[in-house]
């Protein structure tokens, strides 16, 4: 019987958490559409997410592109298919690696920061203080982060795509001795509009999920420093897992 009750309790906890997250999401989305809008805060969050994440996302992208070129060379050279390297690099980066790796890096950087900031504001009663100052905490804290996350991640991924392809180009031309113009030509040849767009749509979805998880776990954190720590961990872990799952689902929708 203990076994059954454990299953029941786990199921109930799961359903409760799902319901609470759904309510949180719907409330936040409803507040996205209704004034007042805090444009200063949206701008500040955009700079925080978009601009300050550039170094880490750029570094990730350049090394990923470089490794892709090296690895595919060592594989493809066995059956003389070196000309496919440019295509492999650009398609892998724009379709999958750009959005997923940028998403995971931003989840670690921004998701954690959001959860820690909102969590600390919650446990030091700053969120309650907002309410007593006639300011809706959803509008003031959650909405700017959701908007900034959803709009900035596609831009970050666009930059990551370019830097990643450039990384592949560097290795191919300067290390593997490819002809520069034919490499660029090969890069463009099989790249389609849809490859880039699907990656950017994924990025927008990931940006939304990162901000949502950061805000949700921070907003609902309880119990002092330990609670804030747990909220930060949960925000990063749940955002990362959701990114990977959603990436599979979105790939299925776009390319099946």
């Amino acid at each position: 019987m203990n076994f059954l009750s454990a299953i029941g309790r786990a199921t109930l906890t799961f359903l409760e958490a799902t319901g609470r997250l759904a309510l949180f999401t719907l409330t936040a989305l409803a507040h996205c559409l209704r004034p007042p809008f805090y444009f200063r805060h949206i701008g500040r969050q955009m700079v925080e997410i978009g601009y300050y994440s550039l170094p880490v996302v750029g570094l990730t992208a350049v090394f990923t592109g470089m490794v892709l070129a090296l690895q595919s060379y060592s594989g493809f050279s066995r059956f003389s298919a070196e000309s496919a390297i440019a295509t492999v690099v650009v398609l892998s980066i724009t379709r999958e690696l750009g959005p997923v790796l940028a998403g995971l890096m931003v989840a670690g950087r921004i998701g954690a920061a959001m959860a820690a900031e909102l969590g600390t504001m919650r446990v030091t009663e700053q969120v309650d203080a907002l309410t007593t100052l006639s300011t809706n905490p959803y509008k003031y804290l959650v909405v700017p982060r959701l908007i900034a996350g959803t709009t900035m991640l596609p831009i970050l991924v666009m930059v990551a795509d370019i830097i990643g392809v450039f990384g592949g180009y560097l290795v191919a031309v300067y290390r593997l001795g490819f002809n520069a113009s034919s490499y660029i030509n090969n890069t463009w040849q099989y790249l389609e509009f849809m490859d880039v767009v699907s990656g950017l749509v994924k990025a927008a979805a990931f940006g939304f999920v990162i901000s949502l998880m950061g805000c949700y776990h921070g907003y609902n954190s309880r119990g002092g420093a330990q609670g804030v720590g747990a909220a930060t961990t949960n925000a990063v872990v749940s955002a990362s897992i959701l990114i990977l799952v959603m990436n599979y689902l979105l790939t299925g929708i776009f390319f099946s």
């Binding site: 504001m121 030091t124 009663e125 700053q126 309650d128 203080a129 309410t131 007593t132 100052l133 006639s134 300011t135 809706n136 003031y140």
Partner: protein
């Protein structure tokens, strides 16, 4: 911007805050078990009680941060128990609150903290809001040089003063004080008490405080109510607190370990 007063608000007979049978439980733990209390306009009521007796829950229920399970809360005769959205924001415009840990926004400088209600709630321009914030800081004994500091650069007593300035800057009709003297030395506590009395009197506001500091309660209260096990077991004027005839109140105000109130110690 001031609210267009309802007809009821002009009626002096209607209590400013009226609680009827307010109940709140968290799971199996009953925190408020039917609280009745009327607070008149311009009156200062202090709720005393031990730690964990539900004082904060009561304040948060009145503010709408928590929803009571049963009972009604009326502000100026208007039932605010279950209002949300715009109506809630309109009702909140009457309130100011000083939080236990001051709860200053650490991402904003001191003056923006004080002017927050003006700029966000009442849409006052930044320049005018800053002037009013500096004036309010002056009213709580802080100079204009503090205005540009970050809250983390201030001592605990100064943070409490800034919190008080933030609570009164919008000229609220009702001010809540959550343990205003906790964590301060006795002299600074008395300074804060004096400021509270002065500010409440200057604004003509209605005040509701919660504390377990009896020196503070005696100084700022017109009436004292004692919360024990989710109920108000004694309500009376501050002058009668020493002759309450209530064993629980006597034990609390003299701070004795022996008496009818048994501290719940989990260890056994």
């Amino acid at each position: 911007m001031t609210m267009a007063p309802l007809e009821l608000t002009q009626d002096m007979d209607v209590p400013k805050i009226s609680l009827k049978g307010v109940k709140k439980a968290f799971g199996p733990k009953v925190v408020l078990d039917g609280v009745d209390l009327d607070i008149q306009r311009g009156e200062s009521v202090v709720i005393i009680g031990g730690s964990g007796t539900g004082k904060s829950v009561l304040l948060k229920s009145i503010l709408g941060i928590l929803q009571p399970d049963a009972g009604s809360i009326r502000i100026d005769g208007e039932d605010t128990t279950h209002i949300t959205g715009r109506d809630r924001e309109r009702a909140m415009a009457k309130f100011g609150m000083l939080f236990q840990g001051a709860a200053l926004f650490d991402s904003l400088p001191v003056w923006e903290n004080v002017a927050f209600g003006l700029m966000q709630g009442q849409r006052v321009g930044r320049k005018e809001a800053r002037e009013r914030a500096v004036a309010t800081l002056g009213a709580v004994g802080l100079g204009p040089d503090v205005a540009n500091l970050s809250p983390s650069e201030l001592s605990g007593g100064m943070q409490k003063r800034v919190g008080l300035a933030r609570a009164i800057c919008t000229n609220p009709e009702i001010i809540f004080f959550d343990e205003p003297t906790t964590g301060l030395d006795p002299i600074m506590a008395d300074v804060i008490n004096d400021l509270i009395v002065k500010c409440v009197k200057d604004l003509g506001a209605t005040a509701l405080s919660i504390t377990h500091d009896m020196a503070s309660a005696r100084k700022i209260a017109d009436r004292i109510a004692m919360l024990y096990k989710g109920k108000l077991i004694w309500v009376g004027p501050v002058s009668e607190i020493d002759n309450s005839g209530n064993a629980y109140v006597d034990q609390f105000i003299h701070g004795r370990a022996e008496g009818p109130i048994q501290m719940q110690i989990r260890a056994f």
